[in-house]
Symmetry: C2
């Protein structure tokens, strides 16, 4: 169904502030969720209000705080806040430190939810003419290639590059399906696609409930994507101290943010010129027989976002939206 963007914002804001979040905090969370929703990344959008760990039910212990700092780095304790609040803080620090020193690396742990669509943060960094790299750890839900045990996270990675137009944002999950993809399939009563999950015994399954008890697979079912996921697990787990996250049955997730100033190398303006040149070459190249034209990373999400923003309207899932309305009714009581 079609919903007005400002109506959806109001609804999200209302649910969040009725619980543990201040209005500015709610505003930050809403911004990230809305980015995903209007980008067409529905598994990182308003569905986060539903499922097994709804975002509005997260009760932070304390504000995210800095536990170690150098000229170009910050180590953040997320204080059990939603990942969006920790990631927003990290992104702002990355932009400030990188603008001053040419480079910044921010690590965080102790986030109590996923960070949402991490392309959002990479895009924010790139909007400041800096190159952004963002990785997020998630609860262990995925079996590395060749294994049937859930030992690594969904582990998304995103890159943001400045161009002469909108930043190029490449944002992928290394898993074949996201956890909220599972949640969504379960809520909608849908089967999973082939090759994305196994059950407890390691047999292929299309049943979202069985997959939740079993393990998801890495995207493409090959060693390369699995290896990338293990690397992200090390960056967002081992490096920031979130690796033992499963020992107490909770998942205080880790994240890593890197910002690079092109002025260390070719310079900001020349980088934007160069990246635009490559993007245009790819877009104008001959498509393979299966396609009408060649698409660059993030192109469809950007188009979807621009369309929604121009119209002030977003297409949302009716079931998910109804549940959200139900939520506000409950909260009003």
């Amino acid at each position: 169904m079609k919903v007005k963007i400002n109506e959806l914002q109001r609804l999200m804001h209302q649910i969040l502030t009725s619980r543990y979040f201040t209005s500015p905090e709610a505003k930050d969370i809403v911004e990230v969720l809305l980015y995903a929703e209007i980008s067409g990344k529905k598994t990182q959008g308003i569905i986060k209000f539903l499922g097994t760990e709804p975002i509005q039910d997260i009760k932070p212990l304390y504000k995210p705080k800095i536990i170690k700092e150098t000229q170009s780095s910050v180590f953040i304790d997320g204080g059990h806040n939603p990942g969006m609040l920790v990631a927003k803080m990290a992104t702002e620090l990355a932009i400030t430190k990188c603008s001053q020193n040419g480079f910044a690396i921010i690590g965080a742990n102790n986030s109590y939810s996923s960070t949402g669509a991490i392309g959002y943060y990479a895009n924010e960094i790139a909007k400041h003419d800096l190159i952004g790299i963002v990785m997020s750890g998630t609860p262990k839900a995925v079996a590395p290639y060749g294994s049937i045990d859930r030992l690594i996270g969904i582990n998304p990675i995103a890159f943001g590059f400045p161009t002469e137009n909108d930043p190029l944002v490449f944002d992928i999950a290394t898993a074949a399906i996201t956890w909220y993809g599972l949640v969504k399939a379960k809520i909608m009563g849908q089967k999973l696609p082939e090759g994305v999950a196994v059950d407890e015994l390691g047999n292929p399954t299309k049943d979202p409930e069985k997959a939740m008890k079993g393990a998801l697979l890495t995207f493409g079912e090959n060693r390369k994507m699995s290896g990338l996921s293990i690397v992200i697990e090390l960056f967002t787990g081992a490096l920031v101290g979130a690796i033992d996250s499963d020992t107490d049955g909770k998942w205080y997730s880790g994240n890593l943010f890197i910002a690079i100033d092109p002025n260390l190398f070719i310079g900001r303006e020349k980088l934007k010129k160069n990246s635009t040149l490559l993007i245009n070459k790819i877009k104008k190249s001959r498509p393979s027989s299966e396609y009408e034209k060649v698409i660059i990373p993030g192109e469809m999400a950007l188009k979807s976002r621009k369309d929604a923003e121009a119209k002030g309207i977003v297409e949302v899932d009716v079931k998910v939206y109804s549940e959200m309305l139900l939520l506000t009714k409950k909260l009003e009581k």
Copy 2:
């Protein structure tokens, strides 16, 4: 055929010093090529002496030189040297600067060959208890997903993580096959595997010569690996000024090296403990029905290297080795 490692080293050294390289330079190049050869990465090993642009025929313009420098960054002009010499210099700078400042980023352009197996450099960084990320640009040989035009390189990426034992090294090409994989297939008179290349018109081909005129495909034939390759193209092209490398028909390749000191976050010893914990969990996990045991990234290459080093012997391709012997005969004349 089996060859003594020190005999192979002597042969490589002889070929290189008979041309444009000093003995220390030859030693550096040999070390990287030997690492690949004994790791089982044959397309990055001694085959580099053959093919369309043999490494011994590269005539450097001048020594690699620093063109921009900050506390944590260096921008290098490779002076048309073989990529191994530029990458060796960059790796040493990355280790020194990162040890001093917690972080280092080194960009290079104007390399006149591939850097060889980039896992070598990531491994060197990780041996110093630092985390290494290495990317290499290569001549444009690959069509991005959905395209049939060669617009991006083979674009490998490698990560090195310190552990309590040998570093974990994850080293992949984002292309379905390397350029030297093509060269090798051509020399050996072999067909290419399915799904790795298209001809000039964009039709699938298994003929290495047709592939050389057409385009290689990205690994796994999907948007995610293609997007990663485009990102690496931006880092090793747009960011370091190597993007116009094809305009004059040459390919002065770019590279990027990042080193991160775990002391910025959890600390070196704790990182090594954490990464070892994850590796052990994965190795001990239940294998899927197709496998007897679960393998971690770089495990087979490390085993192959250790075996070869213990025996002092490496298994090389008889055709490639014969050509090398022929080369030395020619040089002796």
